[in-house]
Symmetry: C2
Subunit: 119 residues, 2 copies
Amino acid sequence: MQIKLFDSELKIMDVLWKNGDTTAKRIAEILKEQVGWNKTTTYTLIKRCIDKGAIERVEPNFVCRSLVTIEQARELETTELINKIYDGAADQLVASILGRKNLSPEEIEKLKRLVNSLE
Amino acid sequence: MQIKLFDSELKIMDVLWKNGDTTAKRIAEILKEQVGWNKTTTYTLIKRCIDKGAIERVEPNFVCRSLVTIEQARELETTELINKIYDGAADQLVASILGRKNLSPEEIEKLKRLVNSLE
DNA sequence: GATTGTATTCTACTCCGGTAGAACAAACTT
DNA sequence: AAGTTTGTTCTACCGGAGTAGAATACAATC
């Protein structure tokens, strides 16, 4: 059972993934600065994340805690992309990325090691 | 300058990518069958694709021709995903896919060849 | 060239994600 | 304890993607 997070909800989650448990107030501050959101916008999105089970409030201080790992979210989003435009073939997506001209030598090196370590 | 295609527009483009130049009528037939779209819905989407420069009509028969390659569309969508949830790091996306358990041996083999042919 | 049928465009409704103001609750100050 | 500030929720507007009916243009047939 996967939780689909909208783009704006991902912004909330990203703060938690980057900073760990965080108060709503602090999240609002961060997103105010990062994307100019009104405080109540942030609170609304936090509420929605709670409602769909992506966030829980924990004591002390009623802090926000993520119930979804970034890996889970990435997996879901990536699967959607693959189904949407890669005909469900994950290796085509990888091939597409490797085919780009804008990978740094470091990234290429990392990927070589990664792929060759498979199996 | 990239053309952003919405999900429904991608359905139109996909018919062209799979079948080459196609009449509007035929596209409507295909999508009627594949996703149950009303004929006019398909025509509307074709029109929008034309308006944003993703499709042109060519003689004879006023046929629809794609002006965007699937590779271009894939690159755009993939870049958006990477920026949305992978902090802009393409290699993390690849790592995430490779980390899954659902790649077939054939796919892995293909990828190894691909990676090792780089540079 | 009037009539019928078909291809295309125009126009508009609907639903939902994004955003935030207003209302409310809790805590703090004097 | 009344008043003030701060944290949270309730409610609702807005724009845009998705969808399709109505209207129009075009082609074919007689």
